[in-house]
């Protein structure tokens, strides 16, 4: 019998309550090494809050986060060395050059052969010609690729991406998706990926967690989710859940 892939993220009963409002409600899931998991849900479903708890920006109200077999809160620095993230709302300092920004984060993450690593990433992301450009002068597509370079600097074993292709034109978004897929295949990186672009989720993710009102209401491959909701594609399933206004209990028919 083939051995089940090793889970590098285990989340159990994760809950976050902000001033009486439950943003994340007893969420449990795991992510295997090399797996790309998409988190879907309407605005306010709890996706970003969940990601922020995995990054240590938010302290959970209750529940347990285990990454690489270690409890997160107690081993925060050691775990953060092995993971990385990019988010559409987070920038690198705009008045530093591309190279300076990457150098700073490479050194913070303790990357060896910094210059070679920066060269490789800039070439892969097709922004090598911008090495000495001031970050504030980059287009949004170039900025996104720079943020992804930063996220890949330390060859992370787990990459958290919060809407990484938002605000990109279809051509650049496609290039970014292909780059991420290629990197994931070559390095075996596990990724947790949030997006409002359903086609992207179908294309990139091995498995999807559908969140609504802070709870995971459905989980499976994109094909399984589409079959379960009896829709043509993930986007229709998304709209159906978002407009139902009700929490769909996992395992029940929608």
């Amino acid at each position: 019998m083939p051995r089940a892939p090793e889970a590098i993220v285990r989340v159990q009963d994760l809950t976050k309550v902000f001033d009486g409002l439950t943003a994340v409600d007893h969420v449990s899931f795991s992510v295997a090494r090399g797996e790309i998991v998409g988190m879907l849900g309407a605005n306010g479903a709890g996706k970003t809050t969940t990601l922020q708890m995995l990054l240590g920006l938010i302290r959970p109200t209750s529940g347990r986060i285990e990454i690489f077999g270690q409890e997160f809160e107690r081993n925060r620095i050691a775990i953060l060395r092995r993971i990385n993230f990019a988010s559409v709302g987070v920038n690198l300092p705009l008045n530093l050059t591309v190279e300076q920004n990457l150098w700073v984060f490479a050194r913070l993450y303790g990357v060896q052969n910094v210059s070679t690593r920066i060269d490789d990433l800039l070439h892969l992301s097709e922004i090598a010609h911008l090495r000495r450009a001031v970050t504030g002068k980059l287009s949004s597509g170039e900025l996104t690729r720079l943020n992804l370079c930063k996220a890949l600097l330390n060859c992370p074993e787990l990459l958290l991406l919060d809407e990484p292709t938002a605000s990109l034109d279809p051509d650049i978004a496609d290039k970014v998706r292909k780059w991420l897929r290629q990197t994931q295949r070559e390095q075996g990186i596990a990724m947790i990926f949030t997006s409002h672009n359903m086609r992207e989720i179908e294309e990139v993710c091995d498995r999807v967690l559908f969140m609504q009102k802070g709870r995971v209401i459905a989980e499976g491959t994109p094909t399984q989710i589409i079959a379960r909701f009896g829709t043509q594609n993930l986007e229709e399933a998304f709209i159906r859940i978002a407009r139902s206004g009700e929490v769909v209990a996992e395992g029940n028919d929608p």
Partner: protein, 265 residues
């Protein structure tokens, strides 16, 4: 403590300033303007007093320069933090393997660089314009500057803690907090001038003892170890409270989710 992280974070601020003429000017412009205004005001008062006020110019220019050390040390910490807030870079820092104490130490070290640059400029300007040498304070200068730097660091950390707790709406405090303290810190006048009710709070501020000590050195030529001792003891308390407050506000921000709001929505 990972000193490589501290060094890299500090260098990052150097990169930011090296590329920004406006930021560089800010380090020298306001201290320079302050020195010009205060210097000529005191020179005018002194000339009006027909030599009756021999120490006036020394008191005021000395106070102005020492106040600037305190202010720049506080600003060094706060503005470095705000650079990350303004560029929406804070989540990148706090999701990297960087400890809060490493981040604070880097901000403080960069603050020291800013103070060093501004102080050198002011000392030269005061000597050229008013023939005032800060070095007339002699050996006393060292404990005075050290105490002001530590007090500035404590004030900076307290300011950052408040901004972390109350968000960007509290940003104006970055500039206001030193000036809230200034009337109590006896910068330009002795504590004895203050109303009785203000004297006790005044003596509880480390800076007060530095400025009182400075005036005593100029007046008598003697360094009051009592003032230095009080300043040091109070600084230890202030720094301890500031660090406790910062850790508490940082943890509270993680509970309330406000850290993530500076970038990730």
């Amino acid at each position: 403590m990972n000193l490589r992280c501290v060094w890299v974070l500090m260098l990052r601020y150097v990169f930011i300033y090296r590329r920004s003429t406006v930021r560089l000017l800010e380090v020298f412009f306001w201290p320079g303007v302050g020195l010009l205004v205060w210097g000529y005001v005191t020179r005018f008062i002194q000339s009006a007093g027909q030599g009756e006020l021999p120490h006036f110019i020394t008191f005021l220019i000395g106070a102005m320069i020492l106040w600037d050390i305190l202010f720049r040390a506080q600003q060094g910490v706060v503005l470095s933090f705000l650079e990350d807030v303004w560029s929406r870079n804070l989540p990148n820092i706090f999701c990297a393997p960087v400890r809060l104490r490493e981040y604070i130490l880097a901000m403080f070290l960069f603050g020291l660089l800013r103070v060093g640059a501004a102080l050198t400029f002011l000392v030269l300007l005061a000597w050229v314009l008013y023939h005032f040498s800060l070095f007339t304070l002699g050996f006393a200068l060292l404990p005075f500057i050290a105490n002001l730097l530590v007090f500035g660091l404590a004030l900076g950390v307290i300011t950052v803690a408040i901004i972390i707790r109350f968000g960007q709406g509290a940003e104006p405090l970055a500039w206001a907090i030193p000036f809230i303290i200034q009337p109590f810190a006896a910068v330009f006048y002795p504590v004895s001038i203050l109303p009785a009710a203000m004297q006790l709070p005044s003596l509880a501020i480390p800076g007060t003892h530095v400025f009182e000590g400075m005036r005593e050195v100029i007046r008598t030529g003697r360094l009051s170890w009592e003032h230095v001792g009080w300043a040091m003891a109070l600084n230890i308390i202030y720094l301890g409270v500031a660090m406790w407050l910062l850790v508490r506000m940082f943890n509270l921000a993680r509970v309330k989710g406000s850290l993530g709001k500076w970038g990730m929505q």
